[in-house]
């Protein structure tokens, strides 16, 4: 019997071919392609997660808030042994585990169900509070959102409160591909900094820079990383 922990692993170079296995009417190519390096670096170098311990108390949590670009996420989960590669061609089909927006109750390794924008960061704040209340201080929460998604007001309720609450287990990665219709004058990181967050701005394709930004020390403060993706 094949279980998740024994599934084959794939490399970063395999991700394009894994993504190509998926099909569907609404693939959100730009969204997927803009997040692939961030998600890869998190799963390859940063997160304490394992396909054999998805329910463990001692694990980091990754919340894909920007759920409308899930092909990169599914590809990375496949590369890391959470999802069987032969599931990918069924992407979006009636019996598939893999929808155009992920469902945590279907996708192995997915921590939240997402799709409607503006939910992941507030959920992540709740989880960070919950982990703190349970004394699980080593567990970190990473949430991936987008510059367009941060138009949603719910995100700003979360940004404001998390800063005041000093949630230092919380990390928000903003993939900035200039999707926000009215932009963020001064940079989206200024909104986080104003609420007391630690911030960094890096090239969203530079793996070493991403890793450094994700792992920088930020005691007593949540941390926001703006990963810039230049549009072609």
């Amino acid at each position: 019997m094949t279980n998740a922990s024994t599934l084959p692993r794939y490399s970063y170079e395999d991700l394009p071919s894994l993504i190509a296995l998926m099909s569907g009417d609404e693939k959100h190519d730009l969204a997927s392609l803009s997040t692939v390096d961030v998600i890869w670096v998190l799963y390859d170098r940063v997160l304490r997660v394992s396909p054999s311990a998805t329910g463990s108390d001692s694990r980091d949590r990754f919340y894909l808030s920007k759920g409308h670009g899930p092909m990169a996420y599914y590809a990375v989960l496949t590369a890391k042994g959470f999802i069987r590669a032969d599931e990918l061609p069924r992407y979006g089909q009636f019996q598939s585990l893999l929808g155009q927006h992920p469902d945590r109750n279907l996708v192995p390794g997915a921590e939240i169900s997402s799709g409607s924008l503006g939910h992941g960061l507030p959920l992540a704040v709740g989880t960070a509070l919950g982990l703190r209340a349970m004394g699980l201080t080593d567990d970190r929460v990473f949430v991936l959102t987008g510059d367009g998604e941060l138009d949603e007001g719910s995100g700003h309720e979360a940004i404001a409160f998390a800063g005041r609450a000093g949630l230092d287990s919380l990390h928000c990665v903003v993939v900035d591909n200039s999707s926000a219709s009215h932009g963020w004058p001064g940079g989206i990181e200024t909104r986080f900094a104003a609420e007391g967050w630690s911030t960094a701005r890096v090239d969203g394709r530079d793996h070493d820079a991403l890793e450094a930004a994700f792992t920088v020390s930020h005691p007593g403060r949540p941390h926001a990383v703006v990963a810039v993706i230049k549009r072609a």
């Binding site: 939910h119 959920l123 992540a124 709740g126 989880t127």
Partner: protein, 312 residues
């Protein structure tokens, strides 16, 4: 007498002391009632400020971490304003620890505050989602065991508190409908704080009177078991007709008639007191008596036969 909201704060504070899995999440409303609890459990009593979308999402995120959250504010800001958060961050995530939502204000407790603080549609909104237990206690002594039971289990629970209450608790069982009176011509189901009004309204009528401090799940079994005639009147302290479909389902194999009384859809655009709003919606004892008698077509002693004018 301690009202339901005060009882909630006192009991929840005690539960926090005894159960490390519980947390209380607030959005400023009632924060003062939890001052002592917050000092003892600063990580498990969290006031988010006036951020009601975040209130529900934080409850959902805590639940994903294994905490059972109790989220509380006025019904209009707990259910109506962040309804998508309830749908997605609680229902759709389906975290094992679930959540407890405890509202205050009900349909028109804050009548003088106007429409912004009135929430007659909260139960109807939750009725669009699966899996919710909905408690509508009629007395603080009913609310307390409902809260304790919710804290000790998993799943999604809505506890709808009100400043309106019956003079004494009417529930005689922990779950399901209580039979207050047996009769032959119809069944009248009174929900929560409208229990006393229905008892007074149906005095002398040959009707069965059931009392429901919990409306979801709907106790179809007791309704069927006590049914003497296929005529049912629902009296609910929120949007009229909210549970009519439950009666239709329970009696699907029987030709039957059902009347759903409750808060009307139209805005009153009046202030005043909750009692004035109750009367304006036809939910005081006198109005209820006329509507019940009219629907079932019985003699109303002393006033002649009541015309059946409420069949809409």
């Amino acid at each position: 007498m301690e009202n339901m909201r005060e009882r909630f704060a006192r009991v929840a504070t005690g539960l926090l002391d005894s159960d490390p899995r519980l947390a209380v999440v607030l959005a400023d409303i009632s924060a003062d009632l939890f001052d002592s609890a917050r000092r003892r459990h600063p990580d498990r009593v969290v006031n988010l400020g006036i951020r009601e979308q975040l209130l529900i999402s934080v409850a959902g995120g805590m639940s994903l971490a294994g905490i059972r959250p109790i989220a509380h504010t006025f019904a209009s800001f707990l259910v109506e304003r962040p309804f998508e958060q309830i749908k997605l961050d609680l229902n759709h995530q389906a975290a094992a620890a679930g959540a407890i939502l405890v509202s205050a204000g009900a349909s028109f407790d804050y009548a003088a505050s106007g429409r912004t603080h009135q929430s007659p549609g909260d139960v109807a909104l939750l009725n669009t989602l699966p899996g919710w237990t909905v408690h509508v206690p009629g007395h603080p002594d009913e609310a307390e065991p409902q809260l304790r039971a919710a804290a000790g289990t998993d799943g999604l629970v809505y506890l709808r508190l009100s400043s309106l209450a019956n003079a004494a608790p009417l529930a005689r069982r922990d779950d399901g409908f209580t039979v207050l009176r047996r009769g032959g011509e119809a069944t009248v189901l009174a929900v929560g704080p409208l229990g006393d009004a229905v008892i007074a309204a149906s005095n002398g009528m040959d009707v069965t009177v059931l009392y429901a401090p919990t409306i979801r799940p709907f106790d179809r079994q007791t309704l069927r078991a006590t049914l003497s005639a296929p005529v049912v009147v629902l009296v609910e302290p929120y949007l009229a007709g909210t549970s009519v479909h439950e009666v239709a389902t329970a009696l699907a194999d029987l030709p039957h008639r059902v009347l759903g009384l409750g808060v009307g859809r139209e805005e009153l655009r009046h202030y005043g007191t909750p009692q004035q709003h109750q009367a304006a919606h036809g939910l005081d004892a006198t109005s209820l008596r006329e509507q019940i008698a009219g629907f079932i077509g019985i003699e109303d002693s002393g006033r002649g036969r009541v015309p059946a004018r409420s069949l809409a």
